[in-house]
Symmetry: C3
């Protein structure tokens, strides 16, 4: 009841204010991410060059940084945007895609997160465990590319330690999503296995965390609402589709039509 009320209020606020969400994200999901934000009612922009990353971040209601297809030039833009947003009080969502897969990713995660801790970190189980391990928190795990090798529940402890360390909300995605804020652990059970058969659903979740954080000053509540919306729309889309192709179109339609 209360949860639904908060979700409904945030969705209405996003549709009314259409917050600008600045994404520095990966090549695979840029289109999905932009379309999910538009379907919900937010206004996405993608801009990564160091020549403008800070200027664009300053205009935004939220910044979403996603490591998916990183390279040094992009990391420079991420760094500038994250620092600018933090200084300006603009909420930052950080998605450590593929954390634990290569030493380079671990190095970049450590650097970016240390320099300008975000409001929200969202990843799958093994990504969150890898990021935490990078700060000496818990045991490292080797991620298989960008897919999790650990269940989301196995990462709750690492998430709590990471949340404490960064003073950030940490979201672990999986069959059950955990939204961890220090000692507080909230759960989202909405969702469908079909979401793992479409690329970038995690990235979309991070982008929606950005849209919610732009209208809701409590990052934990914003993240929980974003994950609930993902799960609810995922379930509706799965019920209306025959496979991962039709699921994708149904998912965008569900975001657009959503009434809490």
């Amino acid at each position: 009841m209360e949860r639904n009320e908060s979700l409904r209020r945030d969705v209405a606020a996003i549709r009314e204010r259409s917050p600008l969400v600045h994404n520095i994200t990966n090549f695979v999901v840029m289109n999905n991410t932009a379309n999910a934000l538009l379907a919900l009612g937010a206004s996405p922009v993608m801009a990564h060059a160091r020549e403008e990353a800070a200027d664009m971040a300053r205009l935004a209601g939220a910044l979403v940084v996603n490591l998916g297809t990183l390279s040094p030039q992009w990391v420079e833009g991420m760094e500038l945007a994250m620092r600018t947003a933090r200084e300006a009080g603009i909420p930052v969502v950080y998605d450590p895609v593929g954390a634990g897969a290569t030493p380079y990713r671990d190095e970049v995660n450590a650097k970016l997160l240390r320099e300008a801790p975000p409001a929200i970190v969202r990843g799958n189980g093994s990504e969150i465990m890898a990021v935490a391990a990078g700060f000496g928190l818990g045991t490292a795990v080797r991620t298989k590319g960008v897919d999790s090798t650990a269940g989301s529940d196995a990462a709750v402890e690492a998430a709590a330690a990471l949340s404490e360390f960064l003073k950030a909300v940490v979201v672990v995605s999986g069959p059950t999503d955990y939204v961890v804020h220090g000692n507080e652990v909230m759960e989202n059970g909405y969702g469908t296995p079909m979401m793992t058969r479409v690329t970038g659903m995690g990235c979309t979740a991070s982008a929606l965390c950005g849209a919610f954080a732009a209208v809701n000053g409590d990052p934990a509540e914003a993240a929980l609402n974003a994950m609930a919306l993902m799960g609810i729309c995922g379930e509706r889309a799965a019920a209306a589709s025959a496979g991962p192709g039709s699921f994708q179109t149904a998912f965008l339609d569900a975001l657009y039509a959503f009434e809490a």
Copy 2:
């Protein structure tokens, strides 16, 4: 009647000749753009590196340059391609995505447009006003990311001044599209609000302007036909879909099935 005749003739020519349309465009929309060109019957190619941008432009029936996710390396390729196309008499369509959002974008727009004016510039209201203002024509407006903060009608005056200045056709997209050629202002009223809920429909419009300009020597007529086709297919897709997800698939189907 006459308008329909021109549109029908151009579409038939595109399907028959399948002109190569060289795109240097942004990461968000490359897939959409390529698919829209293919659905219509043109042959898209994307190539941005300075090592080959000029060579590829030389092969093309039209060049489409889109600033969406710009960076200095890409701007170099754009510059080479635009200059090459202009010298070779190949029509260039220029899309100043996000003009007015950051100083860097404004700088790049001024530089590229001054060096090698294109045949057609297409943008939304605030983008066109920002580009014009960059040449001292009219009042600047701050774009919100890549979405317009001004109606298309508010930009007609700036478009006329810009058209005069660049000796180019200027298209302002919006609820009504304006195709401005010096003093001449033509309108397109086809379209649907759903087109604003899908990323890159403006970019697709620019790409289709390229396909039409490749087969029609009159850039104003080419642009007007492209905008009419976008609007007609948008209306058909909206009538056949439930939201922005199913709209996208229906839009490509409509382009493919189009009969004037």
Copy 3:
């Protein structure tokens, strides 16, 4: 019968083992490629930076390199990944998109293929002829952007010479697909013309060759199974759709639902 058995066995193996397929591919098709691999049951990852390309390749069951939107920085990552994969005995699929369109592409093809010959090369007719001509095998042809100007049958001879030269399986896509291994030429007749109206179906074919090569030690059989699966799912999708938009969603659904 036997063919079907092999295809069924490989698909079952992909679904069971979910091999990691490392793609260094182009901006246009990254999303399609990832989604096709996921729909089939493989685990895609995209990573191109020289800082991690070798590390990621080492984790993979197969590496897919695609020249689509190349630039020098990306070519560096391709080089590192191809050399690493070859040394580690990981099968590499190479897709010379746009070979023959610009001198730069021809130069990169010659360099990458000479340094670390892949297990499988897949291209359309004019791409394969252009690559072969780069090694002095057969007559050059000028590719029109990324679309073939030659039928697949016209390229079989060049494919055989190239296969001999590189000690690799060479696949020529077209109305009939040819899988050429030295003197052996196998044909796949499944497919539909609609596949040419959607961007990146060739790139998807290359990616699926990677998934099959990850579970089948015979690269010729792997490639033939991949091309057959593409064709069968293409036919099913065409039968269930109205144009290139709905075809794409139906194609992913068909991959997901595939039973040999």
